[in-house]
Symmetry: D2
Subunit: 219 residues, 4 copies
């Protein structure tokens, strides 16, 4: 029987006490990270094909809206025509200069159902928590679990999941609903996240959880 | 000629405006992340063999001390006997319970020269910036560049480099001085970091830079 | 009938929509700010007589311990013999150099009952949230209300109350259990806090609330 | 000779090592806090007469623009029609519901010269640092000094000055350019700030400093 290096790694990590379950909390929110045209349009400088991820996000939005689970859409955008609000980051990723808040790239992909009551918020950096008031919004609503979708897996998704763990909100990454322009980066980030920071979980499992969350149902 | 997937990825990323140089600033600090016995002792639950990384960190410390470049050692430790100060993170990594501040695992590896004037600070989470006053210390000393060493590449090193970029301090990762218990995770994190958040640079290049930094030399 | 300026101010503020009730949440924690010898010993450089405040804090601790309400003691202390960890703040308050973590001034006042299970944590700056992981500890335990005691009213108490409001934890300041070296600063800060950031409430009211909190009682 | 309580307090504080000079740094930025119509229009729910403060801010803007000193205008605004982005704060200050980002109250007062190149940024809470990327903007430009103007002295000005001190940027409050709806709160906050967190300094002194700052002049 052949055992791949990935399987050996997972076994070793499990023996050392990684890969435990974070577990679902009682009160989740859904965050959809940077599913704006600048990332979902394959023609855009920073874009790639995320059609499958959009398809997986749609039922999550539907259930969240139905169950009154709070929904947050982030968009990575800059207001400064000279992009000084990208700080030192633009030294590294020149393509951030395609994300002006006045451009089509700043808009959430039309295939996602943004409803009145959902929150769309700008961010400048990788983590949805950095330089934003996401923390306060979650705390004020007593959220304890963050269901994470969007792009890119090795970028803003990973940084947000790590921060979610640090701030004390259980991060649950929806395997089918996160994507990356590099397959290798995507796969390795899912491994690292599940080993160390977040539960990487299937869409169907998460939908079942969201449907079971009672206290948000006010209908 | 065979082109590997990694090479194809790097080319694609460069075409899209990634992998630019962050560049050195004028005033660096050196951070040595979690090089405590709980990580550097291969027998420890969370440990692995980091002898080569320690060997690469030694000359960095020597030059930093010589040039009066501020040095920060982090240690990931917990004070609470029930590890409630590990928050939700301990759900994921059971092995955090080997990092009690009262244990041998909390101590910086003896092979590293911690001098009077260096800072050793505790942290609870992945990023050296999270839940600490590292940014205040850097700002008050007008540091603009963070030279990053330690472990693990896909864990605390990566999270610290991402935060350094977010907070506005140029992150420079010393290739030879960072390590991980998984080779695959190590390599992919170096790729991701260099593409998106930090300059992953050779020890010799960084030593030359540190020696050239004039304004910290007060001797 | 004579109406004082203070009464006129309060009336005006109420008309403009200030001074509403923050209200108690479902799950409180108690924070005792900087009741260390460096502040509670009137002979200490930064000290003043806080006997009455200690007397008011004692029953709060008793009820918190009884009802399993989490208790946090902060201490403002510095590890660096040259006090560089006081950042630019020491430019302003020279007396911070009496708060070395190795001194008697760093110890919590003996009259306060610190029990196993309580948290004692160091901080460097005014707010208990700044440069600490207090928010992660509160979030991971799903705390939504912070009962605030300690010193000084116009300093660390006020800064912590403002941050508590900002982070999304309802701040409740115990009128009898906060003190300041200046009576004028104390009174004005209580007015400002109650108008804008926190409920300034009587000890008896808060004790009754703490006794009513059911879900923490695990006895 | 009669000595007022205020004078006695100041003397006592000085003896105890307060009221030292923070001192100017090498590279300042100017922040104009919440000088939006919702605060500068005396008819607005949260407004008061700030004509004198606007008069004092005008020459600061003029010199900042001339000397290429970065200028930041904050505006306290909410995007959510139900003001959930005001978190628990709206429990306390009902009038926050007059600060919708779609209203005239959100606009910077016309008497202030906002130029292309200046930054106007939204905030939700008291401190300009809270839930914003101000820190990153200052760090990336190597700012070390924050010249603070705006309103209200006991509210957002004070919270921003305290955070500026905490984050490691020297706060300098322009006495003539900060205002409050309560004279008592204004005076006491200036005392507290100068004693403990910031230099409260005259307009003329600060203008002279700004004119002397060489390295920002790129003309």
């Amino acid at each position: 029987m052949v055992v791949s290096e990935a399987e050996r790694n997972e076994k070793l990590f499990q023996q050392r006490g990684f890969h435990r379950r974070m577990g679902y909390g009682q009160s989740p929110a859904l965050v959809v990270i940077d599913m704006q045209k600048g990332f979902t349009d394959p023609q855009a400088t920073l874009g790639s094909n995320l059609d499958a991820q959009i398809g997986a996000t749609q039922p999550l939005l539907e259930v969240a809206h139905e169950r009154k689970i709070p929904v947050f859409f982030s968009a990575c955008v800059y207001d400064d025509p000279e992009f000084r609000d990208a700080g030192v980051w633009i030294n590294k990723i020149q393509g951030l200069n395609t994300l002006g808040s006045w451009t089509e790239n700043a808009k959430i992909d039309d295939r996602l159902d943004v409803r009145r009551g959902d929150t769309v918020f700008p961010k400048r950096y990788a983590s949805c928590f950095f330089g934003t008031d996401l923390f306060s919004r979650l705390t004020a609503q007593r959220i304890d679990t963050l269901i994470i979708t969007g792009c890119t897996t090795s970028g803003c998704v990973r940084a947000t999941a790590v921060d979610s763990c640090q701030y004390g909100f259980r991060p649950i990454v929806v395997r089918e609903a996160v994507g990356d322009r590099s397959k290798a980066a995507h796969e390795q980030s899912l491994f690292d996240l599940d080993a160390k920071y977040a539960d990487v979980t299937s869409l169907s499992d998460i939908l079942a959880y969201m449907r079971s969350v009672g206290h948000n149902a006010k209908a």
